[in-house]
């Protein structure tokens, strides 16, 4: 049975983690993170220590970005973190700045979260007054960190780290090639670390309590805890923190989903659609991964409509830069709409699966590559329901 945890939303003494980090060598901060096995909570799950190390190894003034664009349908956890614990996130950014040698930083806040702006800026001002960011941090004249808050433009794809950087540079906001990775060539060419809000919120705890403490939670390859934004057909939707390795069934029980639960969408529109057969599978990087979005569907829901909704979302949100995704999303939607007009058939499904294959193989960024995920899983598990839509 996975443990319910309360780390992300718990308070820490302001400045304690930064003070401790500043007493360590930057390399040591990074070593602790590597040792903790912390991996990104934004979706891709990249090891955070390695990311920071790569930026530090460039040996140039770097940049830290907190990705608060939270655009995945069904997630609202980053918003809550910033509502409750913005100071901790900002402090984590200062720790990162110390570790990688960053002089600048940004909080990239989702446009819809504009109402949080004032509060976060006040928090930033307070921290600056207390010398936790800004000039000569904690009295060290050699350590300054200029942090700014920027509002996102409302495009989902701007949550992708390279598109986000483009957008910060006042460009169109399209995913760039990787390589070079942002840690090599990011904001204005600086080595840049982009981390999710939740990832950052964990950092002060790891610094204060040590890597081993963190590794004690979760599975062998997925250390620590994870926030889940649960919505849909359950009695207690909301935000939950569990250690990694929790099974879908355990989570369903916790949120009081009824016996009529038909499917659970894990990881948002681009994620995995679990049917009853999957409910004993664990949520983790090696199992079913998620950036946090969990949507519960009961028997009353039409899987066809759910699928259609997802694909409509993709079709609207594709940045339009690369062929497989731009055209593929439209063609996929077109194909799916055939079922609504009773023009669907097994052949249509086969053709769309082939299209999905091309999209996942040839799209430029994680968006186009993961569009087919929900299509594939829904169609394979609820084929009859789609065919009879």
């Amino acid at each position: 049975m996975a443990r319910k945890i309360d780390v992300v939303f718990s308070d820490v003494e302001p400045g304690a983690a930064l003070k401790k980090a500043m007493a360590m060598k930057p390399e040591t901060i990074i070593a602790v993170l590597k040792d903790s096995n912390l991996r990104g909570r934004g979706g891709a799950g990249f090891p955070t220590g390695l990311k920071w190390e790569s930026a530090r190894n460039q040996g140039r003034p770097a940049c830290v970005i907190c990705n608060a664009d939270e655009g995945e349908p069904g997630t609202f956890k980053d918003k809550r973190i910033l509502e409750l614990r913005a100071a901790k996130v900002v402090e984590a950014m200062a720790i990162c700045a110390r570790a990688i040698g960053a002089t600048r930083g940004f909080i990239y806040l989702r446009g819809e979260y504009n109402y949080l702006r004032k509060e976060i800026e006040e928090t930033m001002a307070r921290l600056e007054e207390n010398h936790l960011i800004g000039e000569s941090i904690l009295g060290d004249p050699g350590f300054s960190f200029d942090l700014q808050l920027r509002l996102g433009s409302g495009a989902y794809v701007c949550g992708e780290e390279t598109a986000l950087i483009d957008s910060l540079e006042s460009r169109r906001g399209e995913p760039r090639n990787k390589p070079p990775f942002p840690t090599e060539h990011g904001f204005l060419g600086m080595p840049t670390v982009v981390n999710n809000v939740e990832t950052l919120a964990l950092v002060p705890h790891i610094i204060l309590n040590g890597a081993e403490w963190f590794r004690d939670f979760g599975t062998r390859t997925s250390s620590g805890s994870k926030l889940f934004s649960v919505s849909g057909d359950c009695a207690k939707p909301g935000i939950y923190e569990f250690e990694y390795g929790i099974t879908i069934r355990e989570l369903l029980k916790e949120v009081e989903a009824g016996p009529a639960t038909k499917a659970v969408q894990i990881g948002g529109a681009s994620g995995y659609c679990a049917s009853a057969d999957d409910f004993d599978k664990a949520i983790s990087f090696e199992g079913i991964p998620t950036g946090g979005s969990i949507i519960v569907f009961d028997q009353s829901r039409s899987m066809f409509k759910i699928l259609k909704n997802f694909v409509e979302f993709f079709q609207e949100e594709s940045c339009g830069q690369c062929t497989p995704c731009r055209e593929g999303c439209s063609r996929m939607l077109e194909g799916i709409l055939k079922f609504e007009r009773s023009e669907g058939s097994s052949k249509v499904i086969t053709d769309l699966l082939e299209l999905a294959e091309t999209m996942s193989l040839a799209s430029k960024c994680g968006f186009g590559q993961s569009v087919p995920n929900s299509f594939r899983t829904i169609v394979s598990k609820f084929r009859d329901e789609i065919l009879s839509a």
Partner: protein, 618 residues
Amino acid sequence: MVKAKINGKLVEVAEGTTVLEAAEKIHVRIPKLCHNDDLEPWAACGLCIVKNGRNPKMLRACCTPLEEGMDIITTDAELVQTRKTVIELILSTHPDDCLACPRNQECELQRLAAEFGVREQPFPKRLRFLPIDNSTGAIVLNPEKCIRCGRCVKVCQDMQNVWAVEFLGRGESTRIAPAGDVLLGEGPCIRCGQCAAHCPVGAIYENDQTTEVWEALMKTGEGEKTCVVQIAPAVRVALGEAFGLKPGTNITRKIYAALRRLGFDAVFDTNFAADLTIMEEGTEFVKRFTAAMKDAQAGKAPAAAVLSGGAAGAATLTGAAAGAALEGPLPLITTCCPAWVDYLEKYWPDMIPNFSTSKSPQQMMGAMVKTYWAAMAKIDAAKIFSVAIMPCTAKKYENSRDETMYSSGHKDVDVTLTTRELARMIKQAGVDILELPDEEADSPMGHYTGAGVIFGATGGVMEAALRTAYTLVTGEELKNVEFTSVRSISGIKEARIDIKGTEIRVAVAHQMGNIETVLRRVKKAKDEGVEVPWHFIEVMACRGGCIGGGGQPYGCTDEVRKLRIRGIYDDDDKSTYRASHLNPYIKKVYAEFLEEPGSHKAHKLLHTHYTPKPIYMK
């Protein structure tokens, strides 16, 4: 160096070499639509995907550096199928309009569809019905055919730094559009045509005016019109490519012959007018330079002081620039490139006084044809139809730029055709150009020097001007006319030239995006009141100079540019005269008609002026 395998073959390449480049080194072509050798890769089209060993994830060859030990597979059944689907996806929003398309048979998409054996289009067509924009009169934008590869955007923003086109909308409704969604002709576009030269399909192309020329030629037969044509320096080393020749092959004399077969009554060479430009501009330079030196000696304008040695040589200049005009500050900046002129008027109007007032060779020739030649040939200038064959789309705009382009009392150049349009006309006429006997151009405006022909390459105008300026200053002829330091393809070239103890500092910039650095340095010096870094600056908007112009045959890369440049300098090498002032026919037209450089008549026919222009018209 990194060692890796591509299709089982061991390759060793420098670190940072992309998979695509490494594959090309061993003659493996990987299909691509968005990538172009002139541009940084950005991985949009999705065609250059390859595999690395057993890894199921596909990589984009255009932007993935080859790494030690990689085992790249560029083709297998799955890759072919995936690429074919990508092509089909592109076709699903693309009009099947090949037969009536400006890129028919020269289209990268069409070629790929053929190579991949697209036989049916599995995705239903969704055309977008976007309007065509021909507001510039030079290049036409047809967004309907745009496959959203992004090349034009990168060219216009990164290579040219003009930012005249951009993508608007997202997802499926992403479309190419002039910046700010205005008409192309009402925004920053300088009509350089580099977007058209790089577009893989028929979405941006030159405004085809061959019909107008055919109609005029028909009237020649009826005695109603006399059709006169000139060809620019850069055309001769590129036109052959449209007929299967290697880039750089010089077919000047076959072009003359072909133009006569098309029905032109007189065939002149813009190179002659380039020699004329040098006489005017070279004089202009010497005059400004000498004035600056005198001021410096009189202690009047230390900022412009330029001498390292003495001013002794300058004395010999007396009388060479007798006209009232031609005065102005240093640095003198060349103006033969109309795209550059447009850029300067829009973005750097403060620098207008530094612009040479000498017209471009195209316009000088136009003015001379309808005045000097008309009188000589006893033809009513009103009946002359004057055509210019240019490597350039901006020249189409230049010929009606302002009232000085009507200095003969008529439109000095009636129509400008690009090299691509000429190739088309020759094909339409069924003229087997490569089999024609060599012919000469008509006299006197068909005779040119090596200085005239090198106008086609970056650095050429500067070199030609220096050859003549030397003589204007010293009264002596140069022993070695080659100023090799201003040749080469690097974006900004600088040189210090010693004219008998007087040092002249020059800069040459080409490809619009490189110009800003140069101008900033000049502006900074001016603002600070210190000596300007250069006395003379040559600017060409296109990479490599006119040989890389927006109207040249497709497929221009640095390799092609270098070959074309070599073709140009070979012509110079072989010339009897290599400095403009030595051209006997130039001497003749001054003696018979123009009097001297900067004369009142020269001023009226051969000079122009500039006005600040808004970047966006309202």
